[in-house]
Amino acid sequence: MIQLLIRRIGALFFSLAVIVIIGFWLTQAMPGDPVQRMLNTSNDLEAGNSENHSKKYDQLYYQLDYEIPNFYFTWTNLCVPDSFYKIPQLNRRNQLIALSSQTGNPMKVYVFKKTEEQLMLQISNSNKIKKEVKIELQSYVNRIQLLSTTGEIATAINNFKWYNEIKDSVVLACVDQLKEHFISFEHAKAGVKLWVPVIKFHSKNRFHQWLFGSNNLQATNYDYNGIVHGDLGYSTVSHRPVSSILQKSFKITFILSTFTIFIAVFFSIPIAIALVLYRNKIIAHIAPGILLFIYTIPVFFLGTLLLMIFANPSIISLFPSSGIAPAEGFNSSLSSWEIFLHTLPYLTLPLITYTIGSLAFFIRLMQASLIDQLNTDYIRTARAKGASENRIICIHALQNCLIPLVTSAATAFPAMISGSVILENIYSIPGMGTEMIHAVQNLDYPVMIGFFLIMGVVTISIYALSDLLNNFFDPRIHYKLKEVSNE
């Protein structure tokens, strides 16, 4: 038991870690630049003033702690120092990495890039250069800034032809400097340096901050508490906190799923017993086919079919077609029982759709395990002592079938919640599934990640819990498991 407990909890933590890492990876894989998005929402983007914009970008980049590494450790080689993370613009960083892994000399490459920027600044500040030449020069420097191999840069630098047009000595000196810096690393080769691994540990990293929050951000407007404390960020569409959105919708989905499972389990027991009791009658021969068909019928087919028949003004308009409450809300004088009665017509069709599939599943399960029990020794003993068939099945056999029913009901729960995505979409129930589909359609990434994390945690914990419960109620299962794993 204790061995199983330790193993189960270990697996639980490992799965949680995998879920959390996938979630973090998704935050990194979000399309678009997060800093740029933040700049756009903070509405102080001044159009046309690119210099000011890039300054603000850099400022926000450091404020949001983007200069720190992503994970606890970085794995690089000697050519690429991990301090390159501190460079804000992604394309500049990638060029630096490409150039220094070719030449194996990051410092000189960095100085070269700095000189490029300086040259750009000198050109734009200089008064002695003609306007046309200035534009040509600027485009030339821009072109060099985009190149990422030494060969291309060498040809570009050799093609410099504006010596006679430039009268400004400061700019000329800068050009010479650029050439000098380039020659200093042009023919260097990275060689062995590429194969020397540099593994560094970072106690301060973005993953850690994402998990536990960061204190230094309190000074800025973008404070963040970490997902461990329930802060899942803000929705990019409605700008509300993700945790509050999910909390509200999770309640509805949870209540609906629990209801469904209780109804299904409640009704499946007598039906299964009846099917086993009358196992020689004609009904028991037809039932498996019907049950199979009900079990395999897709939820969305059944849902739309019911909606089409019973909530359609041109056929039968018996139930409202969407929502879980009247649009105008409830009268405040109603008691809670009356409110329940009023919501019942809204819940009827979803509950029927949802229950039927799981009902068939539970009936099949119960029936199979009851028939399994009928061949055991203790049933034969009960028969021998003269117990009636009713008593044998309802008292002796049923007791041993309830355990697998309960544990499979527990494992059905997460499947119910993820299956509710489709059901809620059909009946427009404002639950978790609807929020999720809205998020997917509007590309609301933080909500998607929050949904993923919460569903992951719920699913993994319920699986672990049901396994442990199973073992607790029925110790034979443990030995069976042991046999299987030792086989």
């Binding site: 979000m30 359609n312 949904f451």
Partner: protein
């Protein structure tokens, strides 16, 4: 295998389910020839053209699509069984035309005439006038190919991982310290190759694979060399089976539908991504059962006899174990196809998984949800889908019953 099939074939439901599945499979494979708005063959006085075949072989048939072949009178024009393509609008019959209503057709003089029975929309049309039956036939191809391909790939992954675990559980994997050291250095090398930018950043996939394979070979030889020395020759047992079991445990407790939904939302919807996600979340089910089967099989005496007669490990696995595990694998394979088809239909019902341009059973039903009076949009694709899933389950259950007999 033959006995099991014969035993299962005796059952009426199994027979009809299998026949129905073969029928759906036939439709899926030949869907472009069954439902296509281009004619199958055009015979003029001068030449014979095969537009559908030409379309399949190259992207452009050279035929103008502006010509309405349905109203052409010169020469012989042979149409496919359903003379409409999936998703192509027919504006004379737009706005949800029921199967029983009057259907119109635009003749050459731009006047609307009654549609001849040959060109009727037998199962009605949707908002844009696209034929529902053509959509169902096209959807059969997409649905079955996604289900079949992803089940096949998941089976392969499960077979490799589960089979290795099951086989090595029985006969053990012992490696000398030299090999372990060499493999450790190899994994270090791989990390250096792929985690750090720069080394082979610009190399193509082929050369990358070549580098990795070459390195693997070198390190294997190096390990063999090392294990000759006394210091590195001590053998240690590697618990591959335990590692695989834990991996299966972890992977099968993931929320699969949510994972698929989030990934389909994050990245561009495509059939390849869907298949990848099905394989990624589905292999543990295969691996678990295949591992158990391998363990069960490797305990039989004939395996021992084969080992005694000098058969190699690979020969025993391929010739003695795999044929015996074929039926159990077949059963989960059939179940998996049904499950993947169901998830795919659900996702395209939500408009998430498959690209919106493709017409599938799920997307047909989704268009039916917008107009609940168009019962033919919900009933026909839904019935076909449920029948297919139920048939898969019947076949799997029939085979399984023969196994436990």
């Amino acid at each position: 295998m033959n006995n099991i099939w014969k035993g299962a074939w005796k059952k009426l439901s199994f027979r009809w389910a299998t026949r129905f599945l073969f029928f759906v499979g036939f439709i899926a494979i030949f869907s472009p020839f069954i439902a296509n708005e281009q004619p199958l063959a055009i015979c003029n006085q001068r030449e014979i053209q095969l537009p559908v075949l030409q379309d399949l072989l190259k992207s452009n048939s050279g035929l103008s699509s502006n010509i309405n072949w349905k109203t052409q009178n010169d020469g012989v024009v042979i149409f496919s069984l359903i003379p409409y393509s999936a998703g192509k609008g027919d504006y004379a019959n737009a706005d949800y035309r029921s199967p029983f209503s009057n259907q119109k057709m635009v003749a050459n003089q731009n006047e609307e005439i009654e549609l001849p029975w040959r060109f009727r929309h037998w199962l009605g049309t949707d908002l844009r006038g696209a034929d529902v039956l053509a959509g169902i036939i096209n959807g059969a191809g997409i649905s079955l190919s996604i289900g079949f391909l992803s089940a096949l790939l998941a089976l392969l992954v499960g077979l490799i991982i589960g089979g290795t675990a099951g086989w090595l559980k029985e006969f053990g994997l012992e490696l000398s310290i030299g090999y372990c050291l060499s493999m450790f250095i190899f994994s270090f090398f791989l990390c250096q190759l792929f985690f750090t930018d720069g080394i082979i950043m610009n190399a193509s996939l082929l050369s990358k694979t070549a580098i990795v394979l070459l390195a693997l070979y070198t390190f294997l030889k190096f390990g063999k060399l090392l294990s000759h020395y006394h210091l590195f020759s001590y053998k240690i047992k590697i618990p591959i089976d335990v590692i695989v079991l834990r991996m299966i445990e972890i992977f099968s407790s993931f929320p699969k539908i949510v994972l698929i939904l989030v990934f389909a939302g994050f990245f561009n919807a495509s059939i390849g991504l869907l298949i990848f996600l099905f394989v990624f979340t589905g292999w543990p089910d295969f691996a678990r059962i295949i591992r158990a089967e391998f363990i069960r099989q490797s305990k039989f005496n004939f395996i021992e006899a084969a080992r005694l007669s000098g058969a190699s490990n690979i020969r025993i696995v391929l010739r003695h174990i795999l044929p015996n595990t074929f039926v159990p694998i077949m059963v989960i394979f059939v179940y998996a196809i049904a499950a993947y088809m169901l998830i795919e239909a659900g996702l395209s019902f939500l408009g998430v998984g498959v690209p919106p341009a493709e017409v599938t059973w799920g997307s047909l039903m989704a268009s039916g949800k917008d107009n609940l009076n168009a019962w033919w949009l919900i009933l026909f694709p839904g019935t076909i889908l449920s029948l297919t899933i139920a048939s898969f389950h019947t076949v799997a259950e029939g085979l399984q019953k023969q196994l436990t007999k």
